[in-house]
C-alpha cells in the first residue's frame, strides 16, 4: 500500500494521528469486550453457584464445591413438576402461537385489505403493553367469567402474548422474500396451493422455526402474566419467585444453567449453520 496521499486535500497522517487512530479503533473493541463481560457476569454467577454446597437455606455465599446439586436436581419438592409444567405449556403455546402468527403474517404481507393498518396495530399492541397490564386484564376476564384458573388459563395467556412475536418474526422474512421464485413456479404450471407448499413454505421455514424457538423461549421464561393467571399451578418461574422469598436451593441454578446451556447450544448451532449457508451462497 502506497503511503502517498492520493486524495487531494487530505493531509498525510502523522504518527500521532495514526497512533490515535489505532487507539480509537481498539477502544471500541475493548469497550465492547467489557460490555460482554458485564452481560455474562450474572450468568457466570448462576452457573458457578449451581455447584455451591450451602449448608443452610440460601445460596448467596460460596461454601464449597459439589456435583450433588446436578445429580439430585429434582431433590427439591415441587421443582420437577414446575419444570414439567413450564415445558409442556411452552411446547403447546409455541406451536399454537406460531401457527396462528404465521397465518397473520402471510395475510399482512401478501394481501392488501381494508383494516390492514388496524390489524398491524392490534398485533403490535401486546408488545407495547407492560406485562403487568396484560396479566391483570386477563385475570379480570377470567374472574368475571368464573373460569377456573389453572393450566388452560396459563396456556391461553402464553399463546396470546406469543402471537405478536411470531408475527413479527415471520413477517420480517416474508417481506424480504423473493416473489420471483413463486412466480416462476406458477409459470411452470403449479397451482397456488402447490406453490405455497412446495416453494413458499420451505423458504420461510427458517423463519417459522425461529418464531417457534422464540415463542418457546419467551413462554418458558414468562413470570408476570403467568403469576397472575396460574391460580394454584406452579410453573418454573413461579417456583423461583416463591423460592426467592424462602430458600434458594442451588437446584434452581442447576435448572437455570441447563436451560441456558441448551438454548445457547441451539443458537450456536444456528449461527454455525447460517455461516455455512452464507459461505456457500
Amino acid at each position: 500500500m502506497t503511503s502517498v496521499a492520493v486524495e487531494l486535500g487530505r493531509p498525510r497522517r502523522s504518527v500521532l494521528a495514526r497512533t490515535w487512530a489505532f487507539v480509537r479503533r481498539h477502544v471500541l473493541t475493548v469497550y465492547s469486550l467489557l460490555f460482554f463481560a458485564y452481560l455474562l457476569l450474572p450468568i457466570a454467577v448462576v452457573v458457578a453457584f449451581s455447584f455451591n454446597h450451602p449448608k443452610g437455606r440460601f445460596n448467596y455465599t460460596w461454601q464449597g464445591f459439589t456435583f450433588s446439586n446436578w445429580t439430585h436436581w429434582n431433590a427439591i419438592p415441587g421443582i420437577q413438576s414446575a419444570l414439567e409444567l413450564s415445558l409442556e405449556i411452552a411446547l403447546i403455546a409455541s406451536l399454537l402461537a406460531t401457527a396462528l402468527g404465521t397465518l397473520i403474517a402471510l395475510a399482512l404481507v401478501r394481501y392488501g385489505f381494508r383494516g390492514r393498518g388496524t390489524t398491524n396495530l392490534i398485533v403490535f399492541l401486546p408488545l407495547s403493553t407492560p406485562e403487568i397490564v396484560l396479566g391483570a386484564s386477563l385475570l379480570t376476564l377470567f374472574l368475571n367469567l368464573s373460569t377456573p384458573l389453572g393450566f388452560s388459563t396459563i396456556l391461553i395467556a402464553h399463546v396470546m402474548f406469543c402471537i405478536s412475536f411470531a408475527v413479527v418474526t415471520v413477517k420480517a422474512r416474508l417481506i424480504g422474500f423473493d416473489r420471483h421464485l413463486e412466480e416462476a413456479a406458477m409459470d411452470l404450471g403449479a397451482n397456488e396451493w402447490t406453490t405455497f407448499v412446495r416453494v413458499t413454505l420451505p423458504l420461510i421455514a427458517p423463519a417459522i422455526l425461529a418464531a417457534l424457538l422464540l415463542c418457546f423461549a419467551i413462554s418458558i421464561d414468562d413470570f408476570v402474566v403467568t403469576y397472575f393467571n396460574a391460580g394454584s399451578e406452579v410453573t418454573f418461574p413461579i417456583f423461583v419467585w416463591g423460592a426467592a422469598r424462602n430458600a434458594t436451593p442451588p437446584q434452581i441454578n442447576v435448572i437455570g444453567t441447563a436451560i441456558f446451556a441448551i438454548a445457547a447450544t441451539m443458537m450456536l448451532l444456528n449461527v454455525f449453520l447460517q455461516n455455512r449457508r452464507a459461505k456457500r451462497a
Binding site: 486535500g9 473493541t29 469497550y31 465492547s32 460490555f35 460482554f36 458485564y38 452481560l39 455474562l40 457476569l41 450474572p42 450468568i43 454467577v45 448462576v46 448467596y60 455465599t61 396462528l100 402468527g101 397473520i104 395475510a107 401478501r110 394481501y111 392488501g112 385489505f113 398491524n120 396495530l121 392490534i122 398485533v123 403490535f124 408488545l127 407495547s128 407492560p130 406485562e131 403487568i132 391483570a136 386484564s137 386477563l138 379480570t140 376476564l141 368475571n144 399463546v159 396470546m160 402471537i163 405478536s164 420480517a172 417481506i175 416473489r179 423461549a217 413470570f223 397472575f228 418454573f236 418461574p237 423461583v240 434452581i252 436451560i259 441456558f260 445457547a264 450456536l268 447460517q274 455461516n275
Partner: protein
C-alpha cells in the same frame, strides 16, 4: 406481476388467514382490557363483594395515593432506557461495522442473558451486589461508596437491574438499523471531507434513528410496568407502580383500585407510544 398477486385474491382469503389469530387476540387481549376498565369502575371488597358503581373515584384515589410510585416508575424506566441506549449503542455499532464474519456470534452474546430465566438473573445480581460481596467492597475501597454503604435496597440497584434485564431489547433494534446502513454513504461523506466523527453524526446517527426509537420503546414500556427488580433489589421506598398493582391484585385483593391503576399506567404509556408513532410513522414502528 406482484400487484396482480395482490389484487387477484381480494375477498375472503386474507380474512380467513387472519381470523383464528386475530380472534384469539381480540378475545384474550382486547376484551380483557374492556373488563379491566369495567372492574376499575367498581367498588367493594373481598368481604362484601364488588358492585359496579361508576366509581371514577378509584382513578383519582390511585393518582393521589400512589403518585410517588407512578413518578418513580417513569423515572427508573427512563433512566434505565437512557443508560441502556448510551451503553449499548457503541457495541451495536461495533458489531454492525466491525463484526464481519463474527456478527451472528457476537449477537448471540448479547442475547445470551435472555436464556437464563429473568428471575434467576435478577437473583444473581442480589448475590453480586450483596453488602459483603466483591462489588460493594471494591466501590467502598475506591471511595465511590461511603464506608458501610450498600448497593442493594437502593434505587441504584433497581435501575441497574432494569437496565441489565432490558439491554438486549435496546441493543438488538439498534444493531438491526445500524446494520442496514449502506457503508458507501459513510464513505461518500468522508470523501466530501467530513471527519469520521462528523460522518457519524450527520449520516450514521440519523439513519439509525428507527433503531433508537424501536429500542427505546421496547425498553421503556416493559420497564415502566416492572416490579421484579424493585422487589428483589430494592427496598419499599423504591417500589414502582408495578409493585402496588401486584400487591393490590394478589395480596390485598382490591381489584377495582388495582384495575384503575393498571389502566392509568397503560393509558400514559399508550399516549407516549402514539406520540412516537405520529412522529415516526406507524409503518416504521411496526414494519
Amino acid at each position: 406481476m406482484g400487484l396482480g398477486f395482490l389484487h387477484r385474491h381480494r375477498g375472503s382469503t386474507p380474512y380467513l388467514l387472519l381470523a383464528p389469530g386475530m380472534l384469539w387476540l381480540a378475545v384474550f387481549f382486547l376484551v380483557p382490557l374492556g373488563f379491566l376498565f369495567y372492574q376499575s369502575l367498581q367498588s367493594g371488597s373481598i368481604d362484601f363483594g364488588y358492585a359496579f358503581t361508576w366509581a371514577w373515584g378509584n382513578y383519582w384515589d390511585s393518582i393521589k395515593g400512589y403518585r410517588g410510585q407512578f413518578e418513580r416508575s417513569f423515572e427508573y424506566a427512563g433512566l434505565a432506557t437512557l443508560i441502556a441506549l448510551v451503553v449499548s449503542y457503541p457495541v451495536a455499532y461495533w458489531i454492525a461495522f466491525r463484526g464481519g464474519r463474527w456478527k451472528n456470534l457476537l449477537l448471540l452474546f448479547i442475547v445470551a442473558p435472555f436464556f437464563v430465566t429473568y428471575l434467576i438473573r435478577t437473583l444473581a445480581w442480589e448475590t453480586i451486589l450483596a453488602d459483603h460481596g466483591l462489588v460493594v467492597r471494591l466501590l467502598t475501597d475506591i471511595h465511590i461508596l461511603a464506608p458501610g454503604g450498600r448497593l442493594l435496597a437502593t434505587g441504584t440497584a433497581v435501575v441497574a437491574g432494569i437496565t441489565y434485564n432490558f439491554l438486549p431489547f435496546m441493543a438488538l433494534p439498534l444493531y438491526v438499523s445500524l446494520e442496514q446502513i449502506d457503508p458507501t454513504l459513510i464513505e461518500a461523506a468522508e470523501d466530501l471531507y467530513a471527519s469520521k466523527w462528523r460522518a457519524f453524526l450527520r449520516v450514521t446517527l440519523p439513519l439509525s434513528m428507527p433503531g433508537v426509537v424501536a429500542g427505546t420503546l421496547l425498553t421503556f414500556i416493559p420497564a415502566a410496568g416492572d416490579f421484579i427488580n424493585a422487589q428483589l433489589l430494592g427496598s419499599p421506598t423504591n417500589h414502582m407502580i408495578g409493585n402496588v398493582i401486584n400487591s393490590k391484585f394478589n395480596e390485598l385483593i382490591d381489584y377495582p383500585a388495582a384495575a384503575a391503576m393498571s389502566f392509568i399506567l397503560m393509558a400514559i404509556i399508550l399516549a407516549m407510544v402514539l406520540v412516537y408513532a405520529r412522529a415516526v410513522g406507524t409503518e416504521k414502528l411496526t414494519g
